[in-house]
C-alpha cells in the first residue's frame, strides 16, 4: 500500500521545527510502524537527506524507548500497543498519517521525534533507595508477600516509562507514571520503611519538572501500552495525604532513650 506521512522535523533542540510530507510507497501490511519509517529513511538516505530521527530499542514492546504521537494518539490507534508493535495492517492504502513527538515542556524535543525523558529518571531517583541488607543475596521468600499485593505491585511495575501518559494527557501530567512508580514499591513489604518519604519526594520532583496536574480525564490509561490503571493515581493521592498528615515535622527526638 501507499501512504502519505506528515512528519515533524526539527534539527535540534534549539531549532524551529515544521511538518514535512513524505510518501511511503510499497508498504507491506506485515511491517511494524517503525519498519515502515525505516523504509522511508532508506529512501531519504539514498537521496542524501537527513533520516527521520526516532527513538527505539527492543522493538518488541517491552523497553519503552519508542513512542510518538500518531494521528493524535500516543503510540497510534491500537490500545495497549507500543508504536513498535503497531502493524501496518491497521492502515489502508491511501491513508494520510500525522506523526509528532510527545509534547510536554518537561520532555524537550532533542531532534525530530526524539524527546528527552530524563525528567522521568529524576522522578524515580527522587524516590530514593529502599532499606536492604547488603552482602549475600537474601533467601527467596524470606519476606512473605501477600499474593494480592504481589499481583498489584507487578501491575504497577509493568510501566515501561515510555511517556505516553504525559503525551496523551490534555494537561501533560505525569501522574500515571509517578503513581505507578510510587505504588510499585509502596505495595511491597520491602518498600514500607520509606513509603512516606518516597511518595513525597517523587511528587515534589514531578511538580518541579513542570508537568501538569491530573484532572481525571483518564486519557493516560487509554494511551498506556501496559494499561496501567488510573486506580494507582488514587492510591498515590491517598499515600501522599497520609504521608503529609503523618509527617512529624522534626527529626527523631534527641531526647529519646538510648536503650
Amino acid at each position: 500500500m501507499n501512504l502519505t506521512l506528515h512528519v515533524w522535523r526539527q534539527k535540534n533542540a534549539a531549532a524551529r521545527g515544521r511538518f514535512v510530507t513524505y510518501p511511503a510507497s510499497d508498504v507491506s501490511p506485515d511491517m511494524s510502524f517503525l519498519e515502515m519509517l525505516d523504509v522511508v529513511n532508506e529512501a531519504l538516505i539514498a537521496g542524501g537527506e537527513d533520516p527521520i530521527a526516532f527513538d527505539h530499542d527492543c522493538r518488541e514492546g517491552i523497553c519503552g524507548t519508542c513512542g510518538m504521537m500518531i494521528d493524535g494518539q500516543a503510540h497510534g490507534p491500537r490500545r495497549a500497543t507500543t508504536a513498535c508493535q503497531l502493524h501496518m495492517r491497521t492502515y489502508r492504502d491511501g491513508d494520510e498519517i500525522t506523526i509528532e513527538p510527545w509534547r510536554a515542556d518537561a520532555f524537550p524535543v532533542v531532534k525530530d521525534l526524539v524527546v528527552d525523558r530524563s525528567a522521568f529518571d529524576r522522578i524515580v531517583a527522587a524516590g530514593g533507595f529502599i532499606t536492604a541488607r547488603t552482602g549475600s543475596a537474601p533467601d527467596g521468600n524470606a519476606v512473605p508477600v501477600p499474593k494480592a499485593a504481589a499481583d498489584l505491585a507487578m501491575d504497577a511495575a509493568a510501566c515501561i516509562g515510555c511517556g505516553a501518559c504525559v503525551a496523551a494527557c490534555p494537561n501533560a501530567s505525569a501522574m500515571l507514571f509517578t503513581a505507578a512508580k510510587v505504588s510499585h514499591l509502596g505495595l511491597l513489604p520491602q518498600g514500607q520503611p520509606e513509603r512516606h518519604t518516597r511518595v513525597r519526594g517523587m511528587v515534589a520532583q514531578m511538580d518541579a519538572e513542570g508537568f501538569g496536574t491530573c484532572t481525571n480525564h483518564f486519557e493516560c490509561e487509554a494511551a498506556c501500552p501496559k494499561s496501567i490503571s488510573v486506580r494507582f493515581i488514587a492510591r498515590m493521592n491517598r499515600d501522599y495525604l497520609v504521608a503529609t498528615l503523618a509527617d512529624r515535622g522534626e527529626p527523631a527526638s534527641a531526647e529519646g532513650g538510648t536503650g
Binding site: D71, Q73, T98, E219, V230, N237, L241
Partner: protein, 246 residues
C-alpha cells in the same frame, strides 16, 4: 541529558512546613479543590431540597425563610464556610489550570481523545459560568438589586415574580446546564482525587454522580419551568408588593 538547569524540587527539609509544601504541591491543591467542591455541592443539594418547599405554597416557603433567619449563627456560619470554600476553590482551580496550560507550550497539530468527556474537558468553563451565575443569583434573589419587584421577606413572591421577567429564567437554565456538567465530573472526580477508589465500587462513583446531579439539576430546573408554565402563580403578589411600597 540536557546539562543545563535540572529542576530541583522543593526540598523536603525541616524548614518547609508540611502545610506549605502540601499547598504548593499539585496533589495538595487538587485536594483543596476536591474538598471545597464537596462543600459547595453539599450546599447545592441542601439548597435545592429546601427550595422544593415552594410547591407547598407561599406560607410554607416564607416560614422556612423566617426559620433560617431566626438562627443567625447557623446562617452566617454557613455563609462564611461557603465564601471561604468558593475562594479556595477558585484559587486552586486557577493555579492548577495555569500550571496545566504551561506544561504544554507547544501543542499537537492533531489529537484524538479516547476517555475524557465533554464534562471533564469543560470544567474550567462550566466553573466560570457558575461563578458569574452565583454573583447574578445573589443580586437577583438575595439582595434583589436586579429584581423587578423585590419584597424583602416574601421569598415566594420574589421567586415567582423573578422568573416572570424575560431574561432571568434563561440565565437560570443555562447555569443549571453548566452545573450539571461541573457536578457530574466533579462528584466522581473528587472521590478519585482524595483516593476513594476500589475495583468493586468504582462504577458506583459514576452512578452516584449521575444520580445526584440529575436530582439537583432537574429539581432546580423545575422552578423556572413551573413559573413559566403557570403552575406556580403569585397569589400574594399585588397585596405584598403594595404593602412593601408603602
Amino acid at each position: 541529558m540536557s546539562a543545563n538547569a535540572i529542576p530541583t524540587p522543593l526540598r523536603l527539609n525541616r524548614t518547609t512546613g508540611r502545610t506549605s509544601s502540601f499547598l504548593a504541591s499539585s496533589i495538595g491543591r487538587k485536594v483543596v479543590m476536591a474538598l471545597t467542591g464537596l462543600v459547595l455541592f453539599g450546599y447545592v443539594v441542601v439548597h435545592m431540597l429546601g427550595n422544593l418547599q415552594i410547591y407547598l405554597g407561599p406560607a410554607a416557603l416564607n416560614a422556612y425563610a423566617v426559620k433560617l433567619r431566626a438562627m443567625p449563627a447557623l446562617l452566617w456560619g454557613v455563609r462564611v464556610l461557603l465564601f471561604a470554600s468558593a475562594v479556595l476553590h477558585v484559587w486552586a482551580a486557577v493555579s492548577l489550570t495555569r500550571a496545566n496550560v504551561a506544561a504544554r507550550g507547544i501543542g499537537y497539530r492533531e489529537r484524538r481523545n479516547r476517555e475524557s468527556t465533554y464534562a471533564s474537558r469543560t470544567m474550567r468553563w462550566s466553573g466560570v459560568i457558575l461563578l458569574l451565575f452565583i454573583v447574578y443569583h445573589l443580586l437577583h434573589l438575595t439582595l434583589g438589586t436586579v429584581h423587578p419587584g423585590f419584597v424583602p421577606g416574601d421569598v415566594y413572591h420574589n421567586v415567582v415574580r423573578g422568573f416572570q421577567m424575560g431574561i432571568a429564567p434563561f440565565f437560570y437554565v443555562l447555569a443549571m446546564l453548566a452545573l450539571g456538567l461541573h457536578m457530574y465530573h466533579g462528584v466522581w472526580s473528587l472521590m478519585q482525587t482524595v483516593g476513594l477508589s476500589h475495583p468493586r465500587y468504582d462504577r458506583l462513583r459514576y452512578a452516584f454522580a449521575a444520580f445526584i446531579t440529575a436530582l439537583v439539576v432537574l429539581g432546580n430546573l423545575s422552578f423556572p419551568i413551573a413559573v413559566m408554565t403557570g403552575l406556580l402563580k403569585d397569589r400574594s403578589s399585588s397585596r405584598a408588593a403594595t404593602a412593601a411600597r408603602r
